[in-house]
């Protein structure tokens, strides 16, 4: 009798959804962004489901179900592996930045254009009042950008 292999498809769906959930949801919360434990847990559930689905297909006699299950499981594993690679290996591919200003050094001055097209220098940022009083400091946040 041919039965729908729900653990297989649920496992696959979960691996794909989990992959995108990091960028859509978990990236917005520091706890789940800095270490993707939520994604790892979901991936673990997905892997178990895929394994159960694969086992189920291989206990049947149908050759086509076995091939399909092997194919779907492989795809799911690739999705999981790609995420792990992107996070734990790809994310660490950063320049050393050993020449970056150190604590105690003067921050190099700059003049850049703000979002309104106005020229702004570091000195101005350090002297223009914040909340009506002289600023105690400027937090420079360099980011990759959206281009």
């Amino acid at each position: 009798m041919r039965r729908f292999n729900w653990p297989l498809w649920l496992g696959f769906l979960l691996s794909v959804v989990t992959f995108f959930s990091y960028f859509a949801v978990f990236i917005w919360y520091p706890v789940t962004r800095d270490f993707p434990w939520a994604n790892l847990l979901l991936f673990l559930v997905a892997a178990v489901l895929l394994f159960l689905g694969l086992r189920r297909a291989f206990t049947s006699d149908r050759r086509r179900s076995k091939i399909l299950a092997a194919f779907v499981t492989t795809l799911g594993v690739v999705v999981i592996a790609f995420f792990l690679f992107a996070f734990f290996i790809g994310g660490r591919q950063l320049p050393a930045s050993s020449g970056a200003p150190q604590v105690g050094q003067k921050a190099p001055d700059f003049t850049l254009t703000d979002a309104d097209g106005k020229s702004v220098s570091l000195n101005e940022l350090l002297s223009t009042p914040v909340n009506g009083t002289a600023p105690k400091g400027v937090l420079l946040v360099f980011y990759r950008g959206y281009w």
Partner: protein, 108 residues
């Protein structure tokens, strides 16, 4: 940067001005500010000159092989001296606003 915006009142109350810097054009930054509701300053360094001076270039990572900035945070005091640095080892991991608030208490 969302963490900064969520803590913007506390940061300003402590006299800290957050400033975001990237190779994005002012137009892109304006779009980002509107979309995300960011209220702090965004600066555009299209040729990565300032990013290079701070040794933060991530070569060839941008569109068409352009240089962009690696994520990094600096707290600079009113005399222009660097008081705290955060150079992440993994670009998914960023400094938390709470950490910045802690350090900024030490500034005079």
């Amino acid at each position: 940067m969302r963490g900064i915006e969520q803590n913007i009142e506390q940061l300003r109350a402590q006299g800290i001005r957050p400033v975001a810097i990237s190779v994005d054009s002012p137009e892109t930054s304006r779009g980002l500010m509107q979309q995300q509701g960011y209220t702090f300053t965004f600066l555009s360094d299209p040729n990565a000159e300032t990013i290079r001076r701070y040794d933060l270039v991530h070569a060839g990572q941008g569109e068409g092989g352009h240089d962009i900035a690696r994520p990094a945070e600096f707290l600079v005091d009113s005399t222009g001296t660097v008081r705290w640095i955060h150079l992440t080892e993994n670009y998914w991991v960023r400094a938390r606003a709470e950490e910045v608030l802690e350090v900024s208490k030490l500034l005079k």
